[in-house]
């Protein structure tokens, strides 16, 4: 049966926000995570593994985003991952 609408977001802006977070934000978070890993682990090993795990983590972040109750929580998850990765990347380069 269809999902019960009382548990779903009604606002178009909220839906759009989560959609953008799940596609673009999750992608950037996944890339950020893997690029940060290269600073601490063998670069070639991380890159070789990332051809599989990048997409799995991308979808993992998508699931987390939709699990979050509010769009701002979803963006917090994604942006915090991106920012942490960026900071680690900048300081370790």
């Amino acid at each position: 049966m269809p999902a019960n609408k009382k548990y779903l977001m009604t606002s178009r802006w909220s839906r759009a926000s989560k959609l953008i977070a799940s596609i673009l934000g999750a992608y950037l978070a996944s890339i950020s995570f893997h690029l940060t890993l290269t600073l601490f682990l063998d670069r070639v090993a991380v890159l070789g593994t990332s051809i599989f795990t990048s997409f799995l983590l991308w979808v993992g972040f998508m699931l987390l985003i939709y699990k979050a109750r509010k769009p701002w929580i979803a963006w917090c998850i994604v942006l915090s991952t991106i920012c942490l990765g960026a900071v680690a990347f900048i300081f370790n380069r």
């Binding site: 049966m1 269809p2 999902a3 019960n4 548990y7 779903l8 992608y27 890339i31 690029l35 290269t38 670069r43 070639v44 090993a45 890159l47 070789g48 593994t49 990332s50 051809i51 599989f52 990048s54 997409f55 799995l56 991308w58 979808v59 993992g60 998508m62 699931l63 987390l64 939709y66 699990k67 109750r69 990347f89």
Partner: protein, 578 residues
């Protein structure tokens, strides 16, 4: 018992991780999560359903594209690849006709395009920004005498026996049926965007798989053997969708990931090159694929060089492999320059190995080995890429694995269609009465696209066989394929009956499939029994497979002809009357 323990352990681990991330209070709000993931599973599934169906249906046939091409041209596939290609004569033939190869990268490989085998030659454009080129090469004079401008890349097909040269571009226009179906499965017919669409379809497919697992988690084991064909339609579709979805789960997960790799790899490479390698692409490829390292041009031309055929012989001897060779390719870098290199790469047939590639790079002046990768040498990134390729293209395990893949692909097509049928059937009640017109139109167009692909594909086999025998361009056949498919979609739209759209597509497909061996026999005289007697393996494979598909389809239709799905027909009739 062990399975239950592992199942409970895994579920407990997931719940524990979930509690850490979202807090214990959310554990009690499982209904919200269930509905959210059910909704996202539904939406993502519906959005990608058509594209995904085409991917899997065409992809299933693409597993046998070489066999299909051989069947189309009534030729026998070569038993083994020709590893003793005459590279020297090939290059000489190209230079005599006027193809300038100096200071350029030239790739040569054995290439089977039914009904003949060729040497595929790809010549890269000269890098005019390179200072060595600017100092040493007179581009204007080369352009004046050459067949092609040196600033153009182009591909050629050379006959390995006669060394007759044909342009590759013309061959692209005469694509064989197997190649056409292969390119259809990643939407190559849509310029530029096709591969990207295929990549994003794979990504959302991966998302739909995970959300489907979450939604169905509690009933995966309890409902695994549940199939109630006599119950309500929605129940029947749901049982089929979940059971076959679980059976095909590893297969679907593998294709979702490898589909993402092939469609969206640029999204991984771009940030990696930009941020990690500071825009140095060559450094990236040197790390990931050390055998593909790019060597720089040096001052001076090569006055004497090693004989390429001798190097090929040395390379094959160094493999220490007694079995058959699957293919061998030669990449010449900076041909004619002081720093010219020859990179040989091969795949071998070996039942005991999964990773079967080896490569060696020789300096073309001295013949010294610059790089060598033996069959057992381990390069992690290269093996990761190879794993993705082998899994995706089923280039392991022979015909048995490809047959399993084909069956699982058809199961996945059923899972896709059943998912949409669940969506449609769930919206047949009074609650959706005001949207019935829209839902019916969407449903019939969808079924027309998906179910119509089956008879269109079978018809393509018939038409292409007739056209090939009469030496008519295959483009006509692809046009007929497209027109028939479109016509069936329009017919489905006006028919507005899900059951009739599906059954008539199956009837047409079954009848066309039944005719394929007969048309082949009439056109070529190679009936199935003659093909078996003469050892024409590919003809037997294709004809018998289509005969089997026809029998299964027609038997299913015959057995279910009296089975009345009154709920669906009555509901549609009632809505139509209202």
């Amino acid at each position: 018992m062990v399975y239950c323990f592992i199942n409970d352990l895994f579920r407990g681990g997931c719940i524990y991780i979930q509690s850490i991330i979202m807090g214990n209070s959310d554990l009690k709000k499982g209904k919200r999560d269930y509905n959210v993931f059910l909704h996202t599973h539904t939406v993502s599934g519906i959005v990608i359903s058509i594209g995904l169906f085409v991917c899997f249906f065409a992809g299933a046939f693409a597993l046998f594209r070489e066999e299909i091409d051989s069947w189309q041209y009534n030729s026998k596939m070569p038993e083994s690849y020709n590893t003793k290609l005459d590279y020297e004569k090939t290059l000489k033939a190209l230079e005599e006709v006027g193809y300038a190869l100096e200071h350029r990268d030239v790739n040569l490989r054995y290439f089977y395009k039914a009904p003949e085998a060729y040497i595929f030659v790809n010549v890269q454009a000269i890098d005019t920004s390179d200072t060595i080129i600017q100092q040493q090469v007179n581009l204007d004079s080369l352009n004046a005498i050459g067949v092609k401008k040196v600033t153009e890349s182009y591909s050629l097909l050379v006959n390995p026996e006669t060394f007759e040269i044909r342009e590759w571009k013309r061959f692209e226009e005469e694509r064989s049926l197997g190649e056409f179906l292969y390119r259809l499965h990643y939407f190559d017919q849509i310029p530029v965007l096709g591969i990207w669409i295929a990549g994003f379809v794979s990504l959302f497919f991966l998302f739909a798989i995970f959300t489907g697992i979450i939604v169905h988690w509690k009933k995966i084991t309890s409902n695994f053997f549940t199939f109630r064909p006599m119950a309500k339609l929605k129940v029947m579709w749901t049982d089929g969708h979940t059971a076959l979805g679980v059976i095909g789960l590893p297969f679907q997960l593998m294709y979702a990931v490898t589909g993402c790799i092939y469609g969206l790899s640029l999204l991984l490479l771009l940030p990696t090159v930009t941020l990690l390698y500071e825009n140095d692409q060559e450094a990236l490829f040197a790390d990931l694929l050390p055998g593909q390292k790019q060597y720089e041009l040096r001052e001076g031309t090569l006055s004497e060089r090693q004989n390429l055929n001798d190097l090929n012989t040395r390379f094959l001897a160094s493999l220490e492999h007694n079995g058959a060779i699957e293919n061998v390719s030669l990449q010449l870098q900076n041909f004619g320059n002081q720093n010219a290199v020859a990179h040989f790469q091969v795949n071998v047939e070996d039942q005991d190995r999964f990773y079967t590639s080896a490569a060696t790079t020789y300096n073309l002046h001295s013949g010294a080995v610059i790089y060598s990768k033996k069959l057992d040498d381990f390069y992690y990134a290269e093996r990761a890429f190879t794993t993705a390729g082998k899994l995706h293209f089923a280039t392991y395990g022979g015909y048995f694995v490809r047959l399993i893949y084909f069956i699982l692909a058809m199961i996945t097509c059923y899972v896709i269609i059943s998912g949409v049928m669940i969506w449609l059937n769930a919206r047949q009640g009074k609650k959706y009465a005001h949207k019935q017109g829209f839902i019916r139109n969407v449903g019939t167009i969808y079924l027309g696209i998906c179910m119509g692909l089956f008879p269109a594909t079978a018809l393509a086999f018939i038409v292409l066989k007739v056209l090939t025998v009469n030496s008519i361009s295959p483009s006509v056949g692809y046009g007929i394929f497209g027109v028939f498919w479109l016509a069936y979609i329009v017919y489905a739209f006006f028919l507005k009956d899900f059951k009739k759209v599906s059954r008539r597509a199956l009837w047409l497909g079954g009848i066309f499939a039944f005719l394929i061996p007969s048309v082949n026999g009439l056109c070529t005289g190679l009936w199935i029994w003659k093909a078996i007697a003469s050892g024409a393996d590919t003809v037997v494979l294709i004809d018998m497979s289509w005969f089997g598909i026809a029998m299964v389809t027609l038997m299913y239709l015959w057995k279910t002809r009296t089975q009345v799905k009154t709920q669906e027909s009555d509901t549609q009739t009632q809505v139509a009357k209202s």
